[in-house]
Amino acid sequence: MRQTPSQTVGPYFAYGLTPEQYIYDFKSLANNLMVNPLDHEEAITIMGKVFDGQGVVIPDALIEIWQNDGQNQLFGRFGTGTDAENRFIFHTIKPVSVNGQAPYVSVIIFMRGQQLHSYTRLYFSDETELNSKDEVLNVVPEDRRHTLIAKKKGNIYELNIYMQGDNETVFFDI
């Protein structure tokens, strides 16, 4: 059987997929509070912006993140249209290493102008040793690895996503 083709999420996903975030009168099934930071002192914030090929911040992207390290399975979903700086923001905990791999979060990116979603990963800048040995990071050309590694600033990890250009984020075929 042939796969159903993908089509863009378009500009109007907010009331269907992220209704509470955008203040529509419909319940959200997922949001950016993957853990409640009040209950987890090890909670971290993951955030960043998504840029198009002209260097403009994209205000209508939908970002989903998924992490499964065998201990915790956490899913988050957030649109870039509500933060004043059009950031995506997630409150979660850092995954642990599985089988010696560097810890990472899977990232799925949807937006108007993308007919097929993109997959990337978010790694952590304070995992230098595991990152240097990681099987997946080592498949990525060395000069592009930095596009996957979120920079730690306190409890915040920041990673911008670049759809195009010299710093284009590494997107994966998974």
């Binding site: 042939r2 083709p5 089509q7 863009t8 009331y15 993308q114 997959y119």
Partner: protein, 235 residues
């Protein structure tokens, strides 16, 4: 224990990232080749939702947000099955939908099209597939609407769908179109799908699912990415 490997996107039916006729792709399509990696735990799993996530009227867009009456428009039933490329049904998976109202207007705050909003129609819904992978929504047939891609550009009638499937490689966001819509031949979003894949995005009129004196029936099946063996072999 052998490793299950999920199929890649089928490039014979999936749209390319860059399709310049759809102008928004020009500065948003990745330009460098994708990097092929081995799937690991995170890719071979995904979020799990359950019936507890879905309200009793979430699947019925003609009722789930009414304020003072019934929504205006042609009532329809949209139903079908979710499967993978191996033909196996995908039970208990979340489907989310959103759409314009019968006048071609989205509730979304950035939709500036001068067509009326319907106080009794939000246009968002969700359901879980049953044990056999089947789903069913009640809604109002969405209207066509103009957009700014090119002179006199109109989107054909469509419903947006979001599916999760077995794991994150199965993730699918797409749009379902209606048979015989003359706008399909002019829509760069639809036409970005290679010819082989286009008919897979058009639902079928289904007299059997049509409910007498109530709603017209349409059938639309989904096929998500499959894998190289049945998952049961490794359990």
């Amino acid at each position: 224990m052998s490793q299950i490997i999920y199929n890649s996107f089928d490039r014979e039916v999936q749209p390319a990232y860059l399709t310049p006729e759809y102008k928004s792709t020009i500065f948003r399509a990745p330009q460098k080749p994708l990097v092929l990696i081995k799937q690991s735990l995170s890719e071979l799993t995904g979020p799990v939702f359950g019936d507890f996530n879905v309200g009793p009227l979430d699947h019925d867009l003609t009722k789930n947000t009414v304020k003072n009456g019934e929504p205006i428009g042609e009532r329809i039933v949209v139903h079908g099955k979710v499967m993978n490329e191996n033909g196996q049904p995908i039970p208990n998976t979340l489907i989310e939908i959103w759409q314009a109202n019968s006048a071609g207007r989205y509730v979304h705050k950035v939709d500036q099209h001068e067509a009326p909003l319907d106080p009794n129609f939000l246009g968002a819904g969700r359901c879980m597939t049953d044990a056999n992978g089947n789903y069913k929504f009640y809604t109002i047939k969405p209207g066509a609407y103009p957009w700014g891609n090119h002179y006199n550009a109109w989107r054909p009638n469509h419903i947006h769908f979001s599916l999760f499937g077995a794991n994150i490689t199965n993730r699918l966001v797409t749009q379902m179109y209606f048979p015989g819509d003359p706008l399909l031949n002019y829509d760069p979003v639809f036409l970005s799908v290679p010819p082989k894949g286009r008919e897979l995005l058009v639902c079928e009129f289904d007299l059997g699912a049509t409910e007498p004196s109530f709603a017209l029936g349409y059938r639309f099946d989904f096929v998500l990415r499959g894998h190289n063996q049945t998952p049961f072999e490794t359990l």
